[in-house]
């Protein structure tokens, strides 16, 4: 039996899940790996966690530095979230000779390079599988199993909260804000849901995925992201009638010939024949295209205490095996820039578009709108205008492949017209996934 001492900083939902999972499945873990995980120290500022998780006086502490300074601890698990304190604990942990496991996507997507470089300098491992898609092993698959591939496409449903809200809107005929309230009530959305619904969380995860998939240094600040808060129930109904569903999709595509890639997060129309359109509730799914393996899909729970804890514990075991094998060299430097790739400006992307106008019911409205679109190189594939019997009339248009900057310019002009009664809703369409 090989014993590995770990220290946990942060006993919130995931931290508590890690403690419980290690206790519940210690026998399975030992049988499958030959390793006994010992929680030597666990820190949280909330003293009630001690009792709640049945931790002894010698294990529980309210001071994170007790974990970092314990010379017998091999691996520190950082699960406090946020970026300031978490960064400090991780860097100090590495410098104190500890390997690190974290689920902190916000931190990694913003200062990952610094953390990975520090770890490399001190010859320590960073496990971060739990940072993207919870229990779904998408990072290990990209970094190890698909290593011999040139990965050219990633389409991810990476945020369970927004997928839950979109599913509820669709199935229970709810408007966005009612579905959000329901999600909050059921624990699928936080009291402050901004990170999720505005697309920030999905962009963090995309930054991590794309960096490793394309082996380049994707800058978070360059990723265009947009949330689901502008989607109305009416939009969903039009979209369904056209044979599509809407998902908050994290998209990364690599154009190898031109050495340029794009990374973006926005509500996206996906045809119902595409498997990703069937991913509902709080589930995550990632479609990946590699030049050797072709298209693959990974599907599972992307959040929640136990799915995420599973990823954390499997990272711990991976590092524990390396410790016990006296690994001294770290070959895995795939976070390093190794290609001369640049990110495409968002205005330069091409897509088909769903445009939903709110106009007044006057002669010549359609001609006016389509005229402006035409002048901006945008041609239409279909137009939908239903009788409403009201003064304000929605008009839905689907475009052929157009350039983002052309769309933005045209809509800016259109939205200033008197006949337009509210800001036009733009939803991008992905057909050839």
């Amino acid at each position: 039996m090989n014993r590995i001492n770990i220290g946990i900083i942060g006993l919130g939902t995931i931290g508590a899940g890690v403690v419980k999972l290690i206790h519940k499945n210690s026998q399975v873990i030992l049988q499958k790996s030959g390793i006994k995980l010992n929680i030597k120290k666990a820190a949280d500022i909330d003293k009630r966690k001690k009792e709640e998780l049945m931790l002894s006086n010698t294990v529980f502490t309210t001071n994170a530095n007790d974990v970092i300074s314990d010379p017998e601890i091999d691996i520190i698990v950082e699960l406090i979230g946020g970026t300031t304190k978490a960064n400090e604990f991780i860097i100090n942990g590495i410098k104190a000779g500890k390997h690190i496991v974290t689920a902190n996507k916000a931190l990694l997507s913003q200062t990952g390079n610094k953390i990975f470089n520090t770890a490399y300098k001190y010859n320590k491992f960073i496990g971060f599988e739990a940072s993207v898609a919870g229990g779904v092993p998408i990072l290990k698959s990209i970094r190890e199993s698909l290593l011999p591939n040139r990965i050219t496409k990633i389409y991810g449903i990476l945020n369970g909260t927004t997928n839950f809200i979109l599913t509820k809107m669709e199935k229970d005929n709810l408007e966005f804000k009612d579905a959000l309230l329901l999600a909050q009530k059921l624990g699928f959305a936080e009291a402050n849901p901004e990170y999720d619904i505005k697309g920030t969380d999905s962009a963090h995860k995309l930054q991590i995925l794309a960096s490793f998939a394309f082996n380049t240094d994707v800058k978070f600040k360059d990723i265009y992201f947009e949330g689901i808060d502008k989607i109305t129930l009416d939009d969903l109904k039009y979209i369904h009638s056209l044979g599509y569903k809407v998902k908050l999709l994290s998209i990364a595509k690599l154009d190898l010939r031109h050495k340029i890639y794009e990374c973006r997060v926005h509500p996206t129309m996906i045809h119902t024949s595409n498997p990703l359109s069937t991913v509902s509730q709080e589930y995550n799914a990632i479609l990946i295209d590699g030049d050797a393996v072709g298209e693959q899909i990974y599907y599972g729970k992307g959040a929640g205490a136990f799915p995420t804890a599973s990823a954390v514990v499997s990272d711990i075991i991976d590092i524990a095996k390396k410790i016990l094998n006296n690994n001294e060299k770290i070959f895995d430097r795939s976070f390093q820039i190794s290609d001369d790739l640049t990110m495409k400006k968002f205005g330069d992307i091409s897509s088909r578009y769903y445009l939903r106008f709110k106009t007044c019911d006057k002669p010549g409205v359609l001609a006016k709108i389509s005229g402006i679109l035409g002048k901006n190189n945008i041609s239409l594939s279909s137009v939908l205008q239903k009788e409403t019997g009201q003064n304000i009339v929605p008009i839905v248009m689907l475009t052929h492949i157009s350039k983002e900057s052309d769309i933005q310019r045209a809509i800016k002009i259109i939205d200033k017209l008197d006949i337009i009664k509210s800001k036009t809703n733009i939803i991008r369409i992905e057909d050839n996934m």
Copy 2:
């Protein structure tokens, strides 16, 4: 740069794919891993492979022993298939101090234990990701990413050939033997398709998956398997009208409380609401249930030169990293029996059943059949009998949950009746996946 010398035995479809992939993506592999793979020797009895793969005189050989005896080779890749010679090469390779990578499911499912034990004794690694589901990293996910989980269910579409045939039958209205001919013409089925269509290949893969998922010594000979060759186009039509699809499913379930598991392969009715029902053509998919992660699905190409080569090369890189790190201990003994689990007898499984009788159109036929079923504890959930205007009439029945041995006993009696015109077709139904 770290150079690793590999030797390949067998340059058929997959072996050739490995050579091509290593050449094509050597730059990507080097960038992502820091490792340069060098094909030091490659053996095949077919001399034409030398030119076809542009191998030099010093690399190509027709003698596998040249690979095994080369002292500079670190890893041997066995891709000849079959069980006799392959076993000999692998065991000799291990004894000569080489690590092994193989895609040979038939060999592993039959004598895997011996091979793993020999490797353990000589402190060598066996990579075998490519043996199940081609480029889909299902074994690594089970053995590493899901390690902290108790896995209780596996449902796999593990054979691309049969899935292709079932898709063609369904979409192009073909009978089984015509769909098989088409599959052979398009290269999706071999000239001798027995291994695929009879379910043997799926059972081999299930043996490997279940052994690692349940961490027990599943015996191939104890796995019940049955192929798709008895399914008719009429069956598929009835089944579709009932809201189901048919897949050749590899099923493993663990009942932890009673320490008993079941492993079986047979055509299975899956409701169209289940994501596995949408897996078409030559694709593979595996649904796994772990106590921490919940349900996950892995989907991708399960066969073909490049998807399989991707798995082989990723195994090579994994082992190469261990070699370069001077790993000396092998912790991964998850193939070892660690639980006191037994396999359920096939007769003891429970399922719902589709039964298709061919009877003559006489009064009392339905009463006779349903009477025998009733006496054997089988109750019906639905009955379908359509007017055909012919003497021979098909009757389709769906049962409630029944015991396999009850079904077998009842059908044996029914098939002896004068009113029954051909052997009754039995298809099992999985509802609660």
